[in-house]
Amino acid sequence: MSNSKKMINFMGVRKVLGVMSICLVIASIILLATRGLNLGLDFTGGTNVVVESPADIDIAGARDTLEQAGFEDAVVQQYGSSRDLSIRVPPQDGIEADQVGQRVFQSLAGSIDGLQLKQVEFVGPQVGDELRDQSGLALLMALGLMLVYVWFRFTNKFGIATVAALLHDVIIVLGLFSLLRWPFDLTVLAAVLALIGYSLNDSIVVADRIRENFRNTRETDPHVIVNGAINETLTRTINTSFTTMLVLIALFFFGGEVMRAFSEALLVGIFVGTYSSIYVVANLLFTLGVSKEDFLIPEKEEIDEMP
């Protein structure tokens, strides 16, 4: 590394971080397998009611009222402020499942003055199941199509590395959602899908540069080439992640309750994605034994064979 200006030696700590990444992914998979995701209303079915009162609402009192009304399994939570309450009731057996929301509101309105109904969401169990299947399918489809795209776009080793980085990001984000019991609903799914696009985008930019440098330099040590490529794209990687995070932070603080989980998923995802496009891709390239030969352009071989 004689000619470097102020190169950061990213690859120096690659083994430590590689182990960390593997641990995080395995931990996430275990979490997802054992604890699962805290699925939102869209996927479980049931009823969610949001009410607003002119004064602070006593949550314990509201719980008691609901218990007396026969909603023992209702989950009562503050919703954004102490004057807003969200009540989630699992799918009810028997009569008038779609009218649970109204009944919940009426029983609460009896004990709290000036209570207003802000939102009722009822999702039938059948629809919930369908949405869950559909969403799982969408997630797999997105990953599958990305795989196809990358396969067309890169050689095997690069393809494997970028897709692994993608899986790494998605699994860790889902794992965090599982660990912290953050609600996972359709909007979060949208965020995860957007993350798939973003994460691959990030990795592609780095991978593109690595490839370019392999082809255009006389340097033979892959470590030096990869490190150089990462350093060259570093400002871009960080700047793009930074601007995206800026808008996500704005969404997180001002987007209201609906957008909170969405921005959480993307904030975490982009953080992990930025890291993975620097480390996971390059790390795997070394593990797979990338060398200059992988980038020789085919025409050259033909010329070599000429007499």
């Binding site: 008038e96 929301g101 039938g124 909007t187 985008n201 930019v205 995206t244 209201g256």
Partner: protein, 626 residues
């Protein structure tokens, strides 16, 4: 030195101006309004009624605009939501049953903009408030009912041919006809084949039995028809509710989406949508005594029903119907002139009227009953074969007599139904009769109600995060890339104009809260293209290239990477659109449009600005502010 092609400037200018023009209507805020439409579909609101509206509002001292015709309805703009509520009450009292008065928002788009077809974006229910229902049509009931009719047809065909049969039973989508002997079974083949072309007759079996299987195409047609008829009936009911800009659409094979913007009383909407109520007019079999009725065993050719107003006293009715609810062409709530009790004035179509006339002319002095049939569908939990619990819709039908009256005279196409509890019940019955009955019971499988205050909060939250996020990005780009940052920022603003313009141009596109998030996200990601280009230019400058070359290199070499990177997000947006529902689709739409427009503005837009600043003049720039 390559000169930047001139057509790109023009393209840029044209796109920006075009989108800007179509984005413009979104700046003008909507004002509250009431929308008056005639009850009979397709009829215009006459000038006399329009005058009446203005007079009524003037008298009550409600400030109002001059009013304008929108399609067939009449829209009157008002100053505030308070005035709006007052005006609706006032006008619906004044105009009565013939007109529907609905709350609406009127766009204030100036005439010259409307002339070019520009209108504001559609806002999703999560931004404007309202109710969203997903209704499932109960296909099993549809098929069962139709199978019963077909089984009747089969029996009739056999009777007509004088073929003795034991039974024609229904087995799912099959009819099984059993006979005493093989001879009868063989003889039945031909008449059954002609009577029921919708079925496939199965080959001979050992026992004297014939199996008819419903054709797949007929089944499909039947389901299609049932959903379509339900959609029409629901559409009529929604119109009756007087909701402006309501949506009633089929979704998938057996579902219907109903969206009612601005509706706050979800309970009422649900009651009207989910109910299947119809009427039957039948003769009372009064040759039988009350004791006979009390036994609960109906004499042949009759049926026993409870009489609701008389402690559910059993009444014996003839099985044959004189007329049914689907023959009703019009029904209006009214009041009896003597007693003042509520009634429904009914008009029948020609078939119904003929039948009514024929039967009543022969039965003057005999009693006739009005049978009310209401189907409710509820979710019941059942235990599956493997012990798993699942919920299935189960329909229950209530049939009761609401009115028994002596036929005074031959009835024709117009008559009235009395014996109703309250004016509310009368008007609801009139509504259900008018709007037509549903072909099949429906269950609400999804409901989302968003209160108007939440809608407003969501808009505010969306706008606030967009403005703030954008401001942060603008500041960052300016500080980091200086003059080139200004180019990127102008491109970003142009990008926003294009997104809003395109969203307003596409008639089906709807802006939802996740949709706003999509725009915010593209704002963050849009600068990526510029970051890529600028970093490349800086690098080329560091490598000792001259500014002109560095610019060319930067744009050229970053292009493939930008394209590459954005394609992945576009693929994701397409998947999201196809897999998601409502609000998530809104996210997919803005994301897709945003990425396309950001590539356009970030590559062509900033390049044009760079060329204008550094490309003009004879001398190449010696230094770039980047």
């Amino acid at each position: 030195m390559t000169r930047y092609p001139r057509w790109k400037f023009f393209l840029l200018l044209a796109v920006l101006l075009g989108c800007g023009l179509y984005a413009l209507p979104n700046i003008f805020p909507d004002v509250p309004a009431v929308q008056i439409s005639a009850n009979a579909a397709g009829e215009e609101v006459p000038a006399s009624v329009r005058r009446q509206v203005a007079e009524a509002l003037d008298q009550a001292g409600v400030e109002h605009g001059p009013g304008e015709a929108v399609n067939t309805s009449w829209l009157v703009r008002l100053d505030s939501t308070n005035d709006q509520l007052r005006a609706r009450q006032l006008l619906s009292d004044r105009l009565g049953d013939d007109y529907v008065v609905a709350l609406n928002l009127a766009p204030t788009t100036p005439q010259w903009l409307r002339a070019v077809g520009a209108s504001p974006m559609n806002l999703g229910l999560d931004l404007r408030g309202g109710v969203h229902f997903l209704l499932q049509v109960d296909m099993e009931t549809v098929i069962r009912q139709r199978m019963e009719a077909w089984s009747g047809q089969a029996k009739m065909a056999l009777r007509d041919e004088g073929i003795r049969y034991r039974d024609v039973a229904i087995d799912g989508q099959k009819l099984v006809a059993t006979f005493d002997d093989q001879v009868a079974a063989d003889a039945a083949r031909a008449p059954l084949r002609t009577a029921l072309p919708e079925f496939t007759l199965n080959q001979a079996e050992e026992s004297p039995r014939l199996t008819l299987t419903l054709n797949a195409s007929t089944l499909e047609e039947l389901q299609d028809y049932a959903v379509e008829q339900n959609r029409t009936a629901l559409n009529n009911r929604v119109n009756e509710l007087g909701v402006a800009e309501a949506v009633v659409q089929r979704q998938g094979a057996d579902r219907i989406v109903v969206q009612l913007p601005g509706v706050q009383d979800a309970a009422q909407a649900r009651r009207i949508l989910g109910r299947t109520a119809t009427l039957e007019f039948r003769l009372v079999a009064d040759q039988y005594s009350a004791q006979r009725a009390a036994t609960g065993i109906a004499p042949p050719g009759t049926e026993i029903f409870p009489f609701r107003d008389q402690n559910n006293r059993p009444v014996i009715l003839e099985k044959s119907k004189i007329a049914t609810g689907d023959q009703v062409t019009n029904a209006q709530m009214g009041f009896d002139q003597q007693s003042g009790s509520p009634q429904v004035n009914v008009e029948l179509d020609s078939t119904g009227a003929r039948s009514m006339q024929r039967v009543t002319s022969k039965n003057v002095g005999n009693p006739m009953a009005v049978l009310f049939i209401e189907t409710k569908t509820e979710m019941k939990t059942v235990e599956g074969e493997n012990g798993e619990r699942r919920q299935v819709p189960e329909s229950t039908t209530d049939r009761y007599v609401i009115n028994v009256a002596t036929i005074q005279d031959t009835l024709g196409s117009r008559f009235r139904i009395t014996g109703l509890d309250s004016p509310a019940e009368a008007s609801e019955l009139a509504l259900l009769l008018r709007a037509g009955s549903l072909a099949a019971p429906v269950t609400i499988v999804e409901e989302r109600t968003i209160g108007p205050s939440l809608g407003r909060e969501n808009i505010e939250a969306g706008l606030k995060s967009m403005v703030l996020g954008m401001a942060l990005v603008l500041v960052f780009m300016l500080v980091w890339y200086k003059v080139f940052g200004i180019f990127a920022n102008i491109a970003l603003l142009g990008n926003l104009v294009i997104i809003v313009g395109v969203m307003s141009l596409i008639p089906g596109a709807t802006l939802t809260l996740p949709g706003i998030a999509g725009i915010v996200l593209t704002v963050g990601m849009a600068v990526d293209a510029n970051v890529l280009i600028y970093e490349r230019i800086r690098e080329e400058l560091r490598n000792g290239r001259r500014p002109r070359e560095a610019i060319d290199e930067g744009y050229n070499r970053a292009f493939t990477t930008i394209l590459d990177a954005n394609i992945t997000t576009m693929i994701v947006a397409v998947i999201l659109f196809s897999a998601g529902t409502g609000s998530v689709q809104g996210f997919a739409v803005t994301l897709f449009i945003g990425i396309l427009s950001s590539m356009f503005t970030a590559i062509i837009g900033t390049r044009a600005m760079v060329e204008m600043t550094y490309g003009r003049g004879a001398r190449a720039p010696s230094k770039l502010s980047i």
